[in-house]
Symmetry: C2
């Protein structure tokens, strides 16, 4: 059966719910945004309000008959159940929020759900740098470190729909940093935006080396400030980017032992530093990669428009829903 021309993507965040109607080339042809909260304690009214906002957009592209399916990217979104499970920052006071089913009933089209990082991987495969790839690893560098692992052209969901949490692989086995997950030494305690700020604060506190970063209040220091200072040639800031990138490259070398990917694709604020972060990633990788994989994987930064990437990623699920 021929695919219909459009899919709907929903990027469901703690604050905003952003919808896009997307064509096969990754153009967001229609878009609308609602606040995620304020629709009552149960998700039913939320879905109703969303569908009401979507209707005129759907009509504009020729009606629901033109829509192949819908994809939802949401924190803790489970592909197998179509539910958001235990997401403390969302308004619904339920253990498991069956949004895929609710949207599917309301719209009359198939709806699939997954978490943000898996959605990002789908987006890269459908419209981005991973087009045509069968085996790659998506790494999202945000407040945390997320990942989507693709094997044989499909995102790995594992036995429970929750596979692909590479941000919580241990990268420091001695006195590792405390992670929000309760464990120590997780990748995301070092290589997320939060991790970079943490490294900066630590270096600024433990040494008296000069740095442009000292012009900023220590407790307000962000990953972005480190990128900017590194871009200006600040030695300390460059060292932080080096440390972060090399550690991430080391981690990726370990990840390669799992699915021998043809590429790693990075997304998120930290990638804005360009070569300042990507070169150390590649160096860390090359220095630590097992011989049989050496020189095989490529390293990409996502080229999808930041503002649209999450909606695009979610929409990509709609093609297979």
């Amino acid at each position: 059966m021929e695919k219909k021309p459009y899919v709907i993507g929903l990027d469901l965040g703690g604050t905003n719910s952003v919808f896009g109607i997307v064509d096969a080339n990754g153009n967001v042809v229609e878009s609308v945004s609602l606040k995620t909260a304020g629709h009552g304690p149960l998700p039913h009214k939320y879905v109703e309000d969303c569908v009401e906002a979507l209707r005129p957009l759907i009509d504009k592209v020729g009606g629901i008959g033109k829509i192949q399916g819908m994809g939802i990217g949401a924190p803790n979104g489970n592909y197998y159940t179509g539910c958001i499970e235990f997401a403390p920052n969302l308004p619904w006071k339920m253990e498991s929020v069956p949004l895929a089913e609710l949207f599917s009933k309301a719209l009359g089209i198939p709806v699939a759900m997954t978490n943000d990082a898996n959605a990002a991987a789908m987006g890269e495969m459908a419209y981005g740098v991973a087009k045509g790839m069968k085996n790659f690893i998506m790494i999202t560098l945000g407040t945390g470190v997320g990942s989507g692992i693709v094997v044989d052209g499909k995102v790995v969901y594992g036995s429970d729909g929750l596979a692909g949490e590479l941000g919580h692989v241990t990268v420091e086995t001695r006195d590792g940093r405390q992670c929000g997950c309760g464990r120590k030494g997780c990748l995301e305690t070092y290589c997320s935006a939060t991790g970079v700020a943490r490294t900066a604060r630590q270096l600024l506190t433990d040494t008296d080396r000069p740095s442009l970063l000292r012009d900023l209040p220590l407790d307000q220091l962000e990953s972005k400030d480190v990128s900017i200072a590194a871009g200006k040639g600040d030695a300390l800031a460059k060292e932080i980017m080096d440390f972060t990138g090399r550690l991430l490259g080391f981690a990726c070398a370990n990840f390669a032992c799992f699915n021998s990917p043809e590429a790693f694709v990075f997304f998120g604020g930290l990638t804005k530093a360009g070569d300042l972060i990507m070169n150390p990633i590649k160096e860390g990788y090359d220095q630590n990669i097992l011989k049989c994989y050496a020189g095989k994987a490529k390293f990409f930064v996502s080229e999808l428009d930041d503002a649209k990437a999450a909606v695009l990623g979610a929409s990509a699920l709609g093609w297979e829903a």
Copy 2:
């Protein structure tokens, strides 16, 4: 099309090449073994001699028409190419030995190849404790640590056919042990049979604690001796098993972040220690597993007959060849 009643398995080792004709229930109904070396520098004569030895067995089960396919488990066997790549301990002086193709031509049936650990995973899925499982990780504890990763019911081969080298994931990031691969701190430097002997020698040298292990010459100490001493209640030997198991459990907790497996299946000499190794593995896992995966994975020891497991694993490939 209905499956034929038998497959052929070849367990290709540095010393012996063991063939089995296997039925769908995992019974090795016929078997023959040849020396791997001594057939000349090219693999053609080896294949010819093997097929000659196989003919009478094939006739016994009703001829080649009763054979679905053949599977080869070999060190550095590549599933995609059907070739053995860079195997220094095998007699053929070629970079890439196309055994799958040669056997397929000689026998007139489809032939697939993979490495030993992937074959073991296939064997568990076809005839063993992983029957019916879709997502699990096979860990083989031998001279090295091998692995076969199963996602969605299929072994993960990755972009180049060489995926699944979890024995070379770093488990000690500070002053890790030197590994044969040239890197440091790999899982197999600690949790292989060789790694266990290494731990024993280290503890016996660095301390003067009493132990039954002191009755043996230090340089001849093997993993098996540690198991036996631990079984007799030797405190030092038990501590070695504890250390080994906990580290392996920690590593498995990190592996879970990839494919959230429903089970880990262990095979190899070290598993003979039973609870002495399996309990610490589970403890190490439980202490280090990310909350969302906690309590989900089961831990199994392979129940396949040691002497037949490798042939069974190889043969399992034959069903899908």
